[in-house]
Assembly symmetry: C2
Homo-oligomer: 328 residues x 2
């Protein structure tokens, strides 16, 4: 290629990873892309870990379907499809199932992880299977999958998963999410500490990973873990959003370590737990914009970088073909 | 908007800047975009500061016009136009002037800045005027301008400009460019030190800035400084590429400080001089991918971020209109 070796920096790694995923060089363009927004509620909301009312999860599902959210704006700008997957929204909402809204609720929100298991092992497994199913279906006609999430209070479950899987202390993994004040943050840290304290230790086997997920995770975390597994099984790259996806990817990696070879980290979230999660996963985030919105927005923004890396391998002339002299 | 305040991080600053530039909120989308690749040669090539032969500049001009370079691949992927502007290519090449190749050569490469002024004051002024002219013309039918550059040995002139305008010591501002070995890097640092040593001091007035540019700069640096001024005069955002654009923007800021309000830094280059240049300019780079290719590639990659920031302001529903409850 008519460029100095290494001069495309991180994008050279991305291009190599895409070629590895495709088993072909150059890899096909990662297009079209589909972002799956997994939505669910959290019993831990009862602990006052967020200033947002729980019904906002359902209201935002309606907003996604009306095209009014940031993920819709970014998807429109970047040419991606948006699919909403209800894996456990608590508040009823009046939107029918379509191909843009998959109603796959496992239960109407988790139980309160502050006081007991968030869900049963069977519920966790079913939520993972929803993610696998969605990835498999989308991979049939998409070249890139993008993870998204919506769930009021879901950064609490993410922090608990990150502590459980990486050994990070709760204060270092727990953040202000969508913007909580100091007393709320202190409550959130205490809740995470209490929940993680119930666990027998760092999960070492897939069975222990599933048990950890059931104890302190969320339904959308389980589904996104399955989404990563399903993308890998379909040999399609999957772009991860922020701290929710990062914590879910830790579950996926514990269930099947090689699945992460198909994953790229779209961005580094402003949430403090995201960095230790990415370190444990060995993923380098493509963007660092201090985003903390979720919905898949940070992953979507990285999509043009991934597409451009693939495009460079496809289009760029060689020194020979372009008649450009190589360096001495 | 249906998102927590601040949750779009840096993109909220970008959206506000775009609205300020447009004098309207929401700002129009920064589209279509045009990248102007300013190409020129450097007399300092004679000092052995790069392993690439000088004729590569002309060969790459032909490659840009044939669509075979990385900037072409990225522009195709991201929907931008590419215009090549010859402000001083040394080697003759057999491509006619078209609307995609503007032949505006001020002189066939600078003189060797290691031993004397790179160009005369009048040549520097004329190269700046080329940049203003190109920006003015492109702004007539483009919503975003993107700076690009091509010039074998041009990181040497960039390092000298950064030292001259920011006071950074030569070893901290001089890098390996497209990939030079240790002896070449040592020669490069010595050349930069010697050139900057001839200057009377940090430029304080526009006249002194132009004199500094003429003494140690390059023709494409001058043109890109003019490009930034022209974009500002036309009230169009201009996305800066790496260290060449960063050093040129220092010249533009010294000529007219308010012009930088129209500029965004696309990325942080792997070249060490770029960081002190951006600090002096007060610009935060949107991407950090360790790119060091030039051509406008890093700025182009940031274009979807800028467009998405604008798109969010245009499309996203309010809490009221979407029927979403605000936080307590």
């Amino acid at each position: 290629m008519t460029k100095p070796p290494g001069s495309l920096g991180v994008l050279e790694d991305v291009a190599a990873q895409l070629a590895g995923i495709a088993g072909n060089c150059p890899a096909p363009l990662p297009a079209p892309a589909a972002v799956a927004v997994f939505a669910a509620d959290h019993g831990v909301h009862a602990q006052g870990v967020t200033p947002w009312p729980q019904e906002v999860t359902a209201q935002m599902v309606a907003n996604f379907l009306a095209g009014g959210a940031v993920v819709n704006a970014f998807a429109a700008q970047l040419g991606a499809d948006v699919v909403v997957v209800d894996v456990g929204v608590a508040t009823p909402y009046a939107v029918e199932q379509t191909d843009r809204l998959l109603r796959r609720s496992v239960r109407p929100g988790t139980a309160d992880l502050a006081v007991g298991p968030a869900m049963t092992l069977d519920e966790a497994r079913r939520a993972v299977e929803v993610g696998i199913e969605v990835a498999t279906a989308l991979a049939a006609d998409h070249g890139c999958l993008v993870s998204g999430d919506m769930g009021i209070a879901n950064t609490t479950a993410s922090a608990a998963l990150i502590c459980a899987f990486t050994g990070t202390p709760a204060p270092a993994a727990t953040g202000r999410g969508t913007g909580v004040d100091d007393p709320t943050l202190a409550r959130k840290v205490a809740v995470v500490e209490r929940a993680v304290g119930r666990l027998p230790g760092r999960p070492g086997t897939p069975e222990e990973a599933l048990a950890t997920l059931a104890e302190v995770g969320g339904l959308e975390h389980a589904a996104i873990a399955g989404f990563v597994l399903g993308a890998a099984a379909a040999r399609v790259p999957v772009l991860l959003d922020g701290v929710i996806a990062g914590s879910a990817a830790l579950v996926a990696a514990a269930l099947c370590p090689t699945a992460l070879q198909y994953a790229l980290a779209g961005h580094s979230s402003a949430e403090p737990g995201h960095a230790p999660a990415l370190r444990a996963l060995g993923l380098r985030p493509l963007l660092g914009l201090d985003l903390r919105l979720g919905e898949g927005t940070g992953a979507l923004l990285a999509l043009p970088l991934v597409a451009s890396a693939a495009r460079a391998l496809q289009d760029v002339a060689t020194f020979d073909s372009a008649g450009v002299t190589e360096k001495n």
